[in-house]
Every structure is written in structure tokens, then in C-alpha cells.
Symmetry: C3
Subunit: 470 residues, 3 copies
């Protein structure tokens, strides 16, 4: 990796960007939102083979290969329908290497290359010719205790990593982590409260999950959720997370909400019920946040399981989701009417729809004390996406209404490079402001450190103290 990777090409701006990057480069990583399996760190077992570590679970990689006709089953993606799946890691790895050109210009290429060179210290460039050599080199490292998860966690300079769990989780991995001095409130590995599977009445099995929660009535449902939030807080959680089809929010009366809940329990949902219940529950969760201090995160706008053939064969979360147009201004109004200027409340908004950055999200974040802008997410978590984000939101929301970088990843080994990419892009953006005489160098240097470390720490590690958020 060249030391100037991703910095602007113009020599004058690049020199400034280098200087700014120096102020962020070595700051500890705050990973306030992501999807790493906590068992990886709880158990601290060696990682599996290179294909199972890098290819099989990464839907950025498998979907790109699928888009050129390479079946996910040939890449080892587990099937639900009995389709035979490739199990030989080396064969999967060779398929990746043979199609490596497909990833030119993508963040997957950049992330993977740097995981190979920086985490696994493999300097050979990946190609058809070198596939086996690279595979063997990574495999050799994986056998070394220095490449176990906790050792890597230390090496990555991670200060805190938040995982994401359903309220139904027993949080067993987190209990193990706490017992080992790694978890619990203020710990290095913490959880996040993600109740989508309990508020989405359209999601098959909802009734069973509600029963598992122990909620016979709507009032019990709210009580059980409140209790689970406290259990999550005891496991270190500082935030909740909500992945919804839309950003709709709604304040139903308790009676209306209970009636809707009862209909759903009896399997008699009416058209619009699912959307209305999700929308209503966002306002309820906001109310709970005011009480218990969890920062709310909202990830709306994915059309889930769009690829019907993929869903039928391989199920959820394997690259079949596609973004759709997403509206926030009218959708969030009920929630913001109640809590938008409440000092005890904080919500971090994400989007898959870039058009809302200047039009909706920056004005909302620049106008409501409760609203912060989450980092570019998923398809937008990329050099160009991160750059466009700063260009789009800064003039209206400034830097201090943004919540810092969030890696949102399942791929533990890619966490450092993802944060590094964000730091480099921010360095380039700030360098341009300096070069165009819009911001003095010393203030830009302070800003990049805030973006890289201080802001996410402050936004996500809030505590409610005497009724006012710190």
C-alpha cells in the first residue's frame, strides 16, 4: 500500500492532507456500530481458512461474483434448500483470484488488499497465478496465536467494539467477555439493542418470537423490551439500532397500539399494520431512550431480499438487498415533534439514499439538538461515498453534527482499513478547505482528530445525568 493512498493527487493539497492525516492516523479506533459475532472474541479461537474468513461471509464479495454469473453456492455460501455448496476453501479462493479484475475500483478490492498486506503481512499481489501462494501464506498466519481475535483486537488499536444482538439473545458471549475483563459497561466489547425481529410483524415467525420474549399483551411487550434494554445496558450497550424499510414514525394511542398488537398476535394483520406498528415502535423506543439513555440509531431504506432466487436458496443477508428512495422529513416528524429538542434524547440517522444528505439529513441535523448524522453506510461506505458525504452535509450541518465513522461490518479483520479509509478521505476533504483558504490548518487538524476519535466517543458513549445528556 502506498503511503499516500486515497489522498488528493494535487501535490499542494496532498502535502496538507498528509499533515492532517498524521493527526488522526494513530488515534484508537472507536467502533460504535457493527456486526462482528461476539463469540469470535469471547472464544478467541483461531479463524477458519482464508476463504471462510474473507470470501464466504462477505456479501460485498459474493454478490459481485454472482453478478457475473458465479453462483454463491460455488463460493461456499450456505444453502437453505439443499443445494450442494462448495466446501473446499482453496477452490473458493481460486475462484476469487480468477475474477479479481471484477473488483477494480471497488472498496472490496482496497479493503481486501490491505487486510492481506497489513493484517496478514502477505506482500504478493493476488492473481490467478498467485492464488495458492497467497492462500497458503494467510493460512500459515492463521495458525499463529498472534493472529487470534483478541491479539488482533489489541494490534488494531481498538478501544471499543459494539456488536449487535436481538433482544432475544441471552448475551452469553458478552457474559463470557465480561468475565474475562473484556465486556460489560465501559468495556472493550459491548452490545447493541436491535429489536427489528420483534417489531416487524411481517417477518415470518414474529408471533413465536413475541411468545419467546414472554409478552402476551402489548403492555407486557413494552415491559419485556424495557427489561431487555436494561440487560443490554448491563452488557455494555450504549445504543439501540433499528433497521426499517422506511423512516416512518407514528404516535399511536396506547389503545390503538394494543389493538394492532393483538391483531398481529392473532395473525390478522390488515394492510398497513406492519408499517404502522414499526413506525409507532420507533416513537416508543425514543421514549425508552429518554428514560434509559440508549442512543438511538436508525438505518432505513433497504428493500430486503430483493433477489428472489438468492433468497430462496440462501436466505437473508447474503447480498440480496437493494436500496430504495427514502424520505425523512415528513416521516420523522412525529418522533421529532415529541423528542427532537429533548436534551435527554439522541438519534443517529443513516441512509442508503444519497439524495437526502443535502436536502433532508443535513438540515435536520443542523436544526434539531437530538439529531446526528451517521457515517455513509453499506453501498456508500467507500472512498467516493465518504467524500461526497462531507461535500454534501458540511455546509449545512457542519462537522459537529456528524457522529464519526462507523464500520458496520461483519468482517473483523477489515475494521482497521475501513477506519483508515475514512480518516484519509476526511484528511483530503479538510485539506481542500485549507488549500482554498476556507479553514486554517490548525483548526483542520483539531477537526480531523475530533472526527476520528472524540466525536464518536462523545456521541455514542453518552450517559444520562440529572436528566441531561452528557
Amino acid at each position: 500500500m502506498h503511503e499516500d493512498q486515497l489522498l488528493p493527487a494535487e501535490p499542494g493539497v496532498r502535502a496538507i492532507a498528509r499533515e492532517l492525516y498524521r493527526h488522526a492516523k494513530d488515534l484508537p479506533l472507536i467502533s460504535p456500530h457493527g456486526h462482528v459475532d461476539p463469540a469470535i472474541l469471547a472464544d478467541d479461537r483461531p479463524f477458519p481458512d482464508p476463504a471462510r474468513l474473507i470470501v464466504v461471509p462477505d456479501h460485498y464479495i459474493t454478490r459481485m461474483l454472482a453478478s457475473q454469473g458465479i453462483e454463491p453456492a460455488a463460493l461456499g455460501v450456505p444453502s437453505l434448500d439443499g443445494t450442494a455448496v462448495q466446501t473446499d476453501g482453496r477452490t473458493i479462493w481460486r475462484l476469487l483470484a480468477a475474477n479479481w479484475h471484477l473488483f477494480r475500483g471497488t472498496p472490496s478490492r482496497l479493503w481486501t488488499e490491505r487486510v492481506l498486506t497489513e493484517v496478514f503481512e502477505v506482500q504478493t499481489a493476488l492473481s490467478v497465478r498467485t492464488a495458492d501462494e497467497v492462500y497458503d501464506a494467510i493460512a500459515a498466519r492463521l495458525a499463529d496465536p498472534e493472529f487470534r481475535p483478541r491479539a488482533l483486537f489489541e494490534r488494531f488499536n481498538l478501544e471499543v467494539l459494539a456488536t449487535t444482538e436481538s433482544p432475544l439473545s441471552d448475551l452469553g458471549a458478552h457474559a463470557k467477555l465480561a468475565a474475562d475483563g473484556w465486556g460489560g459497561p465501559g468495556g472493550r466489547v459491548i452490545t447493541t439493542f436491535r429489536p427489528d425481529d420483534l417489531v416487524d410483524v411481517d417477518w415470518p415467525g414474529w408471533e413465536d418470537r413475541v411468545a419467546q420474549l414472554g409478552a402476551g399483551t402489548y403492555a407486557q411487550f413494552l415491559d419485556r423490551l424495557r427489561e431487555r434494554r436494561l440487560a443490554f445496558i448491563a452488557a455494555g450497550a450504549t445504543s439501540s439500532d433499528h433497521g426499517h424499510p422506511t423512516a416512518a414514525t407514528l404516535s399511536l394511542s396506547p389503545g390503538e397500539a394494543a389493538a394492532l398488537f393483538d391483531r398481529a398476535r392473532r395473525g390478522r394483520v390488515e394492510p398497513g399494520d406492519a408499517e404502522r406498528f414499526r413506525a409507532h415502535m420507533l416513537v416508543e423506543f425514543a421514549r425508552m431512550s429518554v428514560e434509559d439513555g440508549l442512543v438511538m440509531q436508525l438505518h432505513p431504506g433497504a428493500v430486503r431480499n430483493h433477489n428472489a432466487a438468492l433468497y430462496a436458496r440462501h436466505g437473508r443477508d447474503v447480498g440480496g438487498d437493494i436500496p430504495g428512495p427514502t424520505e425523512y422529513v415528513r416521516a420523522l416528524r412525529p418522533l421529532l415533534d415529541e423528542f427532537g429538542t429533548d436534551r435527554r434524547f439522541r438519534i443517529v440517522l443513516y441512509t442508503l439514499d444519497e439524495t437526502v444528505f443535502t436536502r433532508e439529513l443535513a438540515p435536520l441535523a443542523g436544526g434539531y439538538s437530538a439529531v446526528f448524522l451517521g457515517a455513509p453506510w453499506w453501498f456508500l461506505d467507500s472512498p467516493e461515498g465518504l467524500r461526497r458525504f462531507r461535500e454534501a452535509v458540511t455546509e449545512t450541518a457542519g462537522f459537529y453534527n456528524t457522529a464519526g465513522f462507523v464500520d458496520d461490518t461483519r468482517a473483523f479483520c477489515s475494521i482497521p482499513v475501513r477506519h483508515d479509509v475514512a480518516r484519509r478521505i476526511d484528511a483530503g476533504f479538510l485539506a481542500r478547505l485549507v488549500a482554498e483558504h476556507r479553514l486554517p490548518l490548525d483548526e483542520a487538524a483539531e477537526t480531523i482528530a475530533d472526527l476520528a476519535y472524540h466525536l464518536p466517543k462523545r456521541v455514542f458513549q453518552r450517559t444520562v445525568h440529572n436528566g441531561v445528556t452528557q
Copy 2:
């Protein structure tokens, strides 16, 4: 302020941009649309203290501070509900200074800094430490007759400034200006006809305002509006302005329009009536424009008073509006069907939704003789917003279907810097075209002078002569 502020960083392009900027820099300012209170120039009294001049009335500034939990009341924003409001200018100013870092990367920072250095000749950078020193320096200037509004008007090289008034205004300030040789047709300070409060039947008090206009019937309503337009033209107006939730237009029959008007007068509006009446009135105002020659301006797309808590405490126009998605192509069709190619008609379209620039507005302006593109507005009136505007619209609409820069500001002292920012961004954009061998230097130089001066003058100072617009 560095002399190269906002010019592209690459030295070759910057050299061209500097040369181009030289052709626009000293041209007089045409301010064809804005919200300066005409009494400021009619009375020519000294400005109040620095906080009341720069902080209190500027919702860009108060909303950013509010977004980080600083109450507008603490910034002196007048309240409607009896909330105590800070009245000490120095205390307000210190709050701004203590939070000055929030404005990094925003146009508010850039505008304010240049108002301090260039208008008030204060060279000390604002910070917690220097708050009082800066405050005292500005206050001292404000006591000097050379810093009175008319003296500044001359110093700013303003050729014409349009204010904006309701048809219900008696235009008293403009009469005073005319008496002093500053106002009236062809004068230096002119008015703009803005009838929103009379066509928005949803706006509380509409019935009273219609009564105040003297309109008992729909026919009288149209007559009174026509008469007020003539009074505005006598006070120098060359344009009308329309701020609507959407760009919808509609041709109701006279009977339908009258029936709707009557329902509204009796307080019996039906769902959709308000939107239909606004839409219909846009077509009626277009028809009036054909007769009396006022250029029509349309500012659609703001969701007004979104922040309920702010609205309840402080009312309208204090930073609580948020843009929403806005459609023009189908919405404007009824109006364009009637007047889009009428040589006696001209409409300038603005937007808060950048997505329409390439998709809708540039194709409309590049296809209808009546349509011109207004400058980036409100949240988009910023270096990045202005740059994206040129990048988005030029290839389809060219330069000569755009209407020149519009400052749209209440902040009189910021007018020169706002125009200067637009000139610098245009210089940078044109310099890139020259550097990429897409436009010869001499044509770029002619173009920047047209954008800065000749185009807004031509678009807004039209006269109807023998039935054809000049």
C-alpha cells in the same frame, strides 16, 4: 481573507481562475431578490449592537447553535410564549464566539468572517479569547456615520436592491426611499410582490387578510391583486415571488376557483383545497405577469415550521424549515402549457432539492423560452452548492438560461461577500472548462461578466414593450 479564497487549488487552474475573477470582481452588484427590511435604508439609522446585527436575526447561525443544544432564547431570538430572552448583546456574542468551531466548513463562517474583516475592518480572528475585543471593535464602527446603511450601500457598489413585501404592505418605506431619490421605478431600492399570505388559505388569519385587501368575492380578489401589483410596479417592482410547499400549478375554471375561494372565506376548506388554490393562483399570477410585465419567481419545496417546539416558542422564519423532495416536471405542466413559450412571460425557478437540477430544471430551462434557472438557494447558497449547480445544469441549459446570483438575504452587510463567493465559484468552474480545453479564455471572461452582472440585469429588469419582453 486570502486573495485566492475559494479558487481551485491546482496552480494552473487557479491562475486562470484569478484572471477570470478579475473580470467580475468589481462589477456592480445586482440584488434582484432578497429580504432586507427596506426601513433600514429608508430610515438610514445606525445598526444596533453587533449581536443584534449579526447573530439574532440570522437563522443560519441560531439554528446551528440550537442543533448543539443552545436555546434560541439564549441567543436573543424573540419569543411568542413569554419565554425570557437574552437581551444583552455582549452575552449573546460571547456564546457565538465560544461555539465558533461549530461553523467550520460552513458558509456562515465564511460570510461572517468577511463581514468582520471587510465591512467592519476587524482583523482579529473570532474566538473565546477575542470575543469582547471583536465586539467592541464592531460596536465602535457602528457608531460611525460611514457605517450607516446608505453609506454601506454606496461602499458595497450595489446598483439595485430588491426587497420583498406582502401585497398588504403600504410600501411606506419605499415611498420614503422614492422621496429621497433612492426608490421607485428604475431606483436603487425596489420592492417585490410576494402574495403568499393571501393565497395560502391554510395560513392562520387568511380570512382577515383577504378582508384587509378588500376582497369580498373571488373577482374582487383578483382585481385587488392586480391593483396592488400596479402599486408595487410604481414602487419599482420588476418581479413577483412565490414561496409554495410544492411547484404544483393548476388551471381551475373561474367558477371552480370562485367556489373554492368562497368555501375558504366561510372557513370550510376541504382536503386539497389549499393546495389547489395555491396551484391555481400561480397560473393566475402568470396571466397577470403577461399583462403587467412582472417577472415571476417560484421558490417551492420548504416544509415550513418543521420544528414544532421552535415554532411554538419563536414562530415562523427562525430556522425551523426543512426542504423536502420537490417535483417540477408534472407540477409545472399546466402553467407551461399556457405560458411556457409566451414571449411576454418569464419565470425564474428555484429549488431546495438538488436532484432536480440535471433531471428537471436544466431540461425545462433549456427547452422553454419562458423558463430561467434561479441561483442555488438557502441551504444550497454555499461554495459547494454553487459549484454543483454549475456542474449540474450547464451542459443542458448552458449559462444563458440561468438568471445570475441572488443573495436572498435578510443580512444586509453580508450582501457583498455572498456575491463575491458566487463570482469566485463561477471563476473556478469556468477556469476548469478553460484548463480542460472546453472553452477559450476570452469567451470564459465574457461569460463570467455576463453571469455576475449582465444576465441578472437582463432577466429581472425586463420591460414589456409592444407585447414582447425585452
Copy 3:
């Protein structure tokens, strides 16, 4: 024309871009989609006068002039309503020259200038003063046999050019071309199957055209269309093309489809019928593609004949269409559910709505094996549009899910410059990736050759072999 036209201004990046452009510059042109009249090449007659060649048929040019009040009739655009139309080529040409400044910054200017200098070897810059000189110089060339269509085809280094015809066309020009060794399967000039006039029941005259096709029933309608596709394939077609108001797709049952068809035949369409029939027929055409191997192209999102006055006087396709917001994710779901991962199917998606590039189209192309991204189209086929396209889609879809440049033009003489612009913009984009150390130079060089030549050839010249697309 400067040799570095459109390459990035920064000297380091420009040097890389020059090197990359060298790898694409001289590759043959593949023109897989456009609207050149095949009779031009079948008859190989001299072109008409310069105005009839360059101004009259180019709606990019006539609409821009109309936007500043120059009537299309004064530019020689044929009228339907008896309006007198200018017939003197020189008079039309002088009007263009007198208003040449309107085109500053537009692709029309760049294309026209390079047609003049490179195709017609006229080095004099166009202006009011030189209008006649330029006109005479072009006219002189047009009399020269070396400037006849087939001679230019050879000079342009065109490998294959696809025209576009209705199923009702007898393909006579293509028969003549085949007889001369220029057409037919694998030929240099081929056709494209465009059935819009037969599936759009709202288009006046639909019943007559269906009768002309020989279809009395829905079953016959499908049969006749299948037969015409085979005739088109015999005339060299490798793709179909579909220009629809929206991207809606729908699977009606055969009974529902037949009932709708019968209603339409009896002139009794119900609201929504036209949209449903178009949507349904897209799925039917996809099904036919699976059988006969034609690559499907979809061009949705134009609001046709928006300018009512222009339409009344001059009819269709003269610059009166305006883009509207266009949704793909939900709209295409029925079609993709059936064929999105079918190895025998391929669809190339275009858009006039840039907002979908990152949000919808890149994720779809990066997730479905059947989906490819078409080049920026119409208002977006411009230097800035092409650059934004790569910036928007590459990170999610890569380069290899894009289908290469498509000129989509009626203007035969502008084909080389249009392709050259795309190659230069791609060189600049790839050069930035190289300069930012995101892609090695050798891979960038391979990529630009793929984009310019190998990819469009592979995507559009597919054959179905043993049930799998090659």
C-alpha cells in the same frame, strides 16, 4: 482541438490520463445503440447542406435556441400545422452562428466544433463573422465523394453500427445493406428491435398499427412479434430496445393480458391499462429474449411531448421531452424475479435520473447476473455526466457490469467525437484511481480498453449457445 481536451488539469494526473487514453484512442468503434437512419448508409448519397446536416435534425441544438426565443420553424424544423418553415440552409446556419455563445459549456458545442474540425477539416472557429465561410467550407466537402456516408464510416473506424426500427419496418434499407455486404448477421450495419409503437396503447394510431402487424388476438400479437424479432435477427439485430415512461414491469396472466389487449383493440382502455400493458409486455419481451437471444435494453423515464406548443406545431422527437423521477427497484422486481438470474437473459438499464445510479442501478447491476448498466443517456451523455456516472457506480458495480459507451445518436457525423469524449473521461477517471494509488497503471490500461471496445462487444454481441449466454 487541443490534444489534452477533457483530460484532468492537474499535470500528474493528466500525464497518466494521456497514457491511458493512448490504450483506447485507436480502438474500433462499437455503436450498439443509436438512431442513425439506415437509408443514409444504404443509399450512400451525399449529405444535404450543412444546416440540414447539423442543425435541423439535432434537437439538442434546436431546443437550446428555442429556449432563448428562436422559433424552431426559423431553424427549418418541419411543421405539422402548416406553419411556414425556413428552407434556406445558409439563413439557418447564420442563426446558429449568431447564437453560438448559448452553447458555451455544452456538449453540443464540443461535438459540433469537433465535427467541423475533424470530420470536415474546417479550422475556422464559428462566429457571426465566419458563418458564411464555415458554411461554404462544409458545403464544399459534402460534394466530395470522400465525404459520403460509407466513406466516412470507414474513416470513422466503425466496426459495427446498430440502427433502431419499429417491428412494422420492412427493413428495406437493411436488405440493401446486406446485399452490398454491409448488413445482416455479423454485418457492419445492423438493426435493433424497438416495439414501443405496438405496446403503447396510448399512442395515437395503436389499433391501426396492430392491424398492420396482422394481429387480431393477443395470441396472434405475441406470435407476430416473435416472427418480427426473427426477421430483425436475420437483419443483424442483437438487441431490442424499449422506451417507456416508467420502468414498471408486471406479469399478467395470459387471460388478463388478452382481456386488456381486447379492450384496447375496441378503444375501451381503462385508467392504468396502458401502463399495465407496457409493464406486462416488458416481461413478455424478456421471455422472448430468453428464447431468441436478443439483449434487452430499457430506456425509461422521459415525459414525452412536455412542451405542448412545440408538440402541436412540430410533433414528436424535436426536443420537447423532459426527464422525470424514475424508480427501478420495485418497478423491475416482477421481471427480475423471473429472469434476473437466468443465464440466458441480459438486460441493459439506462436512466435520465442520475439519483438512481448509486442508490438503485449500481446495486442491481452488482447483484443480478442479467443486469448491466447502460452508458449515461441523452441529457447525461456529456463530460460531466459521464464522469459522475463512473464516480457513482464503480464502487458498487465495478467496471465489468457496465456495458460500454452508447452514442444513441441520429447525428452520424458526431459518432466519433461522442465515443472519443467517453474514452477521454474514462481515462481521466481511471487516472485519478491510479494517482490515488487505488489501481495499478497496468490494470487501468487493460480496463480502459475493455470499456472502449471489449465490453460493449461482449455485452451486445451475445449468442445463446446450448442455453447459456456467451
